[in-house]
Structure formats: C-alpha cells, structure tokens
Symmetry: C2
Subunit: 369 residues, 2 copies
C-alpha cells in the first residue's frame, strides 16, 4: 500500500474514528485503526464491537492495500508532523514508512485481515435531522443517564420516533430528561435504545450546524449515523425502556415562573456547602412572590431570595442542587416554569410546548433544616 | 468587624494570598486567610510558615476588627457571588454574615489571634526589577529544579547578585539552567537560595509588565517581594549552593547553529516513541551541514534531517529529549547555538552574551541505536 494525503485531512480522520477505539481490551487489533486503500478511496475504520466509526480521508492511492496501525502511535506521529503532504508506504512484513518533509518514521503495522469490519446495516428506515439538532438534544439529556447502575437501561437514551416527532429520553432514578424535535415527515412508531457511550462519542465528532444534515438509519439491532464522509454504527440495547408516560403528569398545585439565570446562580451558590459526595439538599420556600433558597451544613449556611410569579399554593420543598443545576444549564430560555404538587411529588421544569421536560424528584427537606 | 468591598477586589485579594495557604497541615489555622481590618486598611494574609503573602484590598472599614476564615469556603463564597458590593459583618462568637445583593451566607470564623503573622523583615538590602523580568527569569529556569531529590538544594533556585547583575540558577543533576539580567545599580555580592515552591507561586500572582516594578528585599534568612499592594515573604534555605563556575566551560570542538523551531519540532517528534518514564535517548548525528535526529524503540523508529551551520568537528551524541525540549521552549531566539566537546561532555545552549546558558548532560548514544 502506498498513499498520499495532507496531514490535516489525515489527522481529522484519525481524530474522528479514534472515538471508537477500545482502550481496555485484550484484543490488540481493537486498539488499532484500519487504513483501507484497497478500493478507490482511503477509508479509516475503528471498531470496539459496540461502536464502530468509518470515515473517508481525501488523498491519493498510489498503490492499493490495507493495513492496521496502533492508534496511539499512529495518531501521535501524524499529530506531530507539519501540515504538509504525508506519504505512507507499506513494504513487506507490514513494515511501514511515514514520510513528511524531512521526517521519516518507521513502524510495523498489523494485518488488516484480522480487523472486525463494521456490520452491514440495511438502509430501509431513515430519519434526517440537522447535525446541530442531534448534538443539542443529546447534550441536553445525556447528563441524566447513569452508566454505573446495575440496570443497564439507565446507561442508555431512548430515541422514540412517533409520527413526525423524535423524543430523546434519559433517566437515572432521581430525574428524567426529555427533549423533543419535529421531523420533516411522519414515520412508523419505533423505540431505539442507544448506549450512552455511543452518544457521548457522537457529540464529539458531529460538528456541523443547522444546515448540515445527519441521516439516521435503524434496524432492530443497530443504529447508524451518516454525516459528511463519516459513518457511525452502534449496537442497540435489547429490551424495553422505562414507561415514561406513567411518570409524567400535567397536574400541579404550584407553578413558579422565574428568571433562569437568577435561579441557576442562586442554586450554584448553595453548593459552597456541598462537600464531595454529600447530597445535602437545598430548601426552596415559595411564599407569595418570593422563592427563598436556603442551605445549611455544619460549615455554614446560606439564604437567598428571588422574585417570582406564582400560581397556586405556597410550598416548601427540598432538592439535590446538582440535579437542578444540570437541567437549568441546558435550557436556553430566559424564563423557566416549575410545576409542583407537594414536597414529595416530582417537580417538572418544562416549556409550554413541552419541547423539553425535566423531572426532578424532591428530597425530604427536613434534613435540610 | 464590619467591612464593605467589591466582589472583584476581594476575589483578587483572596486569589493572591491563597497561594500561600497550606493544604496539608495539622494546624487548621494555616488553612485560613486572615482578614485584618484592625488598622486603616483591609489586609488579607496567608502563611504556611515557609511562604507568606499579604495584600491590601480596597474597601471601607465600617467597624474595625480581625478574623480568619477557612480558605476553601471563603473563596468559594466570594467567587460565586455577583460582582457587586460585599458586606462582611462579624458578630459575637466569630459568627459572620457575608451579604451581597439578595444572597446571605453565614459562616463561623476563627480567632485572628492564633494566626502566625509574617516575620518582620529589615528593609536594608533591596534590588528592583520589572515584574515582567522576574516572571520571565523564573519561568525560564524553574523547570530544571528537582523537588523530589534528597538533596534539597535541587528543589531551590540560586539568586546570585554580583555587581550590577542578577543570575538565577537551577539544576537537577542532569542539566543546569542559568538566566542573567542587568540591574540598574551595582550591589554587594550576595547568594540567596530560594525554595522552588515560593517561585512557582510568585509567577502565578505577579502579572505586571515591563513598566511595573517589584522590590526584592533580603536578609540572611528571608527574601521579600513587594509589588502593587502585595508582599510575599519566603524563608531562604541555609547552606551553600552547588559550585556553578566549575561546571561551565568555554571550550568546544563542535558548534552548531540551528533554527530553534525546527530543532524543537524534530525533537518533539522523536517523543512519539518515548513511553511514560522511559528515558530512551535521541541520537544527534552532526555531519557537515546536517544534523540528523534519530530515535529507535521497540515500537518503531524515526529519523529527521535539519540544515545547520557547523564550526569544528563532526559528532554523534545522545540526549534525553525532554531536557532539550524544556530548554528550547523557553528560549525566544529564532536561532540557537549548541556547543559540544565529545559524546560524554555536556552540551551548552547559550547566546553570545551568555544572558542564558542551558547545560545538558548527554546519554550514552549506544543505547540509542
């Protein structure tokens, strides 16, 4: 194999696929990137058996061939080379020369034959959304998964296609995050349970804007994201996701409308007294048109008042401040509305159209005294 | 005590003095910042018994007093408050209220009486240099100290005042870094051995430019840096520093003049094959007007040629790449000159005036084959 491509193109390709490289595996080949120039294009692939990424690198094939390189060494070499043409020549016994300007590296590749190719996915079912939208709905929900829970569903997000709407749902037992976007067409109902790790990697490599699309194909076992010259294939998790509809309720007895930035700063200030893993709750005391945040610990206490618009009853309720901060940080609205029933029922932060719903379970506020 | 000052001023003061707060101590008072408003100014102090910092915060004293606060809690509170006036009120039993806009924090302070004041330093001997120069000469030498060596001198820098010159010297047994600057006057000879930790903290808080001065006072036991409204006092290390003059030599058999950026990039590329603590040397082969850098390890090899101007003999010599990179990174010249004698004698990187001298010991290059 002999190929030539620019350092910047090659580095971009390596960075993209390296998100699917396994870093703890007993199979050395899974720590590699496959460089496939056996066809008419230079294709890089990485695959950790759960997630696989493939991307095309612009360049010239001088002699067809295929080889795998250890990701760490290969990416370090390319990263440190100047931005100029790189020539990669594979000689007998996988001996490989990587040349750029006056630098010459020699490394030993691995046979491409052992490399696990990405599964072939039937491209029958497809939805198309903008790269921006996909990145945003993941970013705005992914914090509410719990990958360490024994229930592996909590480490996943539900992608629910219903008519012309895509909902993305995550939950960790203490809170639920839901984001919805409209699709251009109506589609048959489908639930896809996508591993959180896949989505965490996707948002690192999907950099396009509102105008750049991503095609999402799905079968019963796989989901495939196709954008620019990159294909990401992930296995889906089998089983049934939590019943979300039973958790949601439109009833409320107290509705608070509040400036988001003020609420976020106030709650953030309360974290001064939260030490490490301590889940000391903040107390919210809603009286007339004031929401008072307070927090007390052995090292001190804080109290803060925020003006609100209130509908319904006064209420005193306690929360884990982290859950509120996580949700408020990903809401772009200037004002947010909180819907509550009583100190033991969940609080909902949602907009009128329910394009987002954040459900947060309260904590017994007596421990917050 | 009752004081009022702006959040930004107070935060700046806390950030400055917190560099001298002890983080591993059995004396809780050393984890505190002293707020002293017993005089006409609000003074913050931290002191870990080796290094002490004192700074004046602009503000209003409504009621005189003095108190110490746990640094972590105090700085977190102030950092999270909005940039507006902060009112600090100490009531009976050290109970303290910190108020800003609609936020109110309550914490318990500690008696200022237990706090170790900074030592009184006689201000007889003084040199003055720009804050920029002080920061630069420290930054350009501090990487060559070794704080973990059993010889504690290696964890220090020598400040040598000789006539109208200040030299700063550090060394770790494998290399020596020397920077010199001119002073405005001539002074009696003096050697000061300053702990590395003091200097590492100083460069974080001394932000002024060429026009901003720092006064450096010294006695036999202490060094004091005075700039803006801040005073830093450090204890000096007793004893005698290494004899530098015996290590330096003007003799050479090979002089190489080379583009600094090219040399740095080339050596940096060789580190691809340096794993963790591995000290595999790079080999430099100087033949006619070419310097060839090469490196070989079990995972691969690299080679690179750089054009040079050479005086004297050809030479093959091996180095630890990190030592070269550290030195080259802090040299601002476009071209650098290397002076060498043989593969076992130190290499000197220095300019004509010897405003900088970096001595690097070679490594047996046979192990670099």
């Amino acid at each position: 194999m002999k190929i030539r491509c620019s350092q910047s193109n090659l580095l971009k390709g390596i960075t993209t696929v390296s998100k699917a490289v396994s870093n703890k595996t007993s199979m050395a080949i899974l720590e590699c990137i496959l460089v496939d120039a056996s066809g008419d294009e230079i294709k890089l692939t990485a695959n950790n058996m759960e997630l696989g990424i493939e991307t095309i690198v612009e360049g010239e094939i001088l002699e067809r061939g295929i080889i795998a390189f250890d990701t760490k060494i290969f990416s370090e070499i390319v990263r440190k080379l100047p931005d100029n043409d790189i020539l990669i020549t594979v000689e007998s016994d996988m001996k490989t020369r990587i040349e750029c300007e006056k630098s010459c590296f020699n490394i030993i590749g691995k046979s491409g034959e052992d490399f696990p190719y990405l599964p072939m996915i039937e491209r029958n079912n497809k939805i198309t959304i903008s790269q921006f939208s996909l990145r945003e709905i993941i970013r705005q929900t992914i914090f509410a998964i719990n990958e360490n829970d024994s229930n592996k569903m909590m480490g996943c997000e539900l992608f629910r296609i219903h008519e012309n709407e895509l909902s993305v749902v995550s939950l960790d037992g203490h809170r639920v995050a839901i984001r919805k976007i409209n699709l251009n067409n109506s589609y048959p109902d489908k639930d896809l349970i996508v591993p959180g790790r896949t989505l965490q990697e996707i948002i690192k490599i999907i950099n396009g804007g509102q105008e750049d699309n991503v095609n999402i194909y799905y079968t019963n076992n796989h989901i495939l994201f196709e954008f620019d010259k990159t294909t990401v294939v992930s296995r889906l998790v089998e089983g049934e996701f939590f019943k979300i509809s039973t958790m949601l309720s439109a009833d409320y007895k107290t509705k608070v409308t509040i400036n988001k930035r003020e609420l976020l700063s106030g709650i953030d200030r309360s974290t001064v007294f939260v030490e490490g893993g301590d889940k000391k709750p903040i107390k919210m005391n809603i009286v007339n048109n004031i929401l008072e945040i307070s927090m007390a610990s052995y090292s001190g206490s804080m109290k803060e008042e925020i003006n609100i618009t209130k509908e319904g009853e006064d209420l005193m309720i306690g929360f884990n401040s982290k859950f509120f901060i996580d949700a408020l940080r990903v809401i772009d609205d200037e004002e947010v509305s909180l819907y509550m029933v009583n100190p033991k029922a969940p609080c909902f932060i949602k907009d009128k159209d329910e394009s987002y719903i954040y459900l947060i379970l309260p904590i017994n506020f007596n421990s917050a005294s």
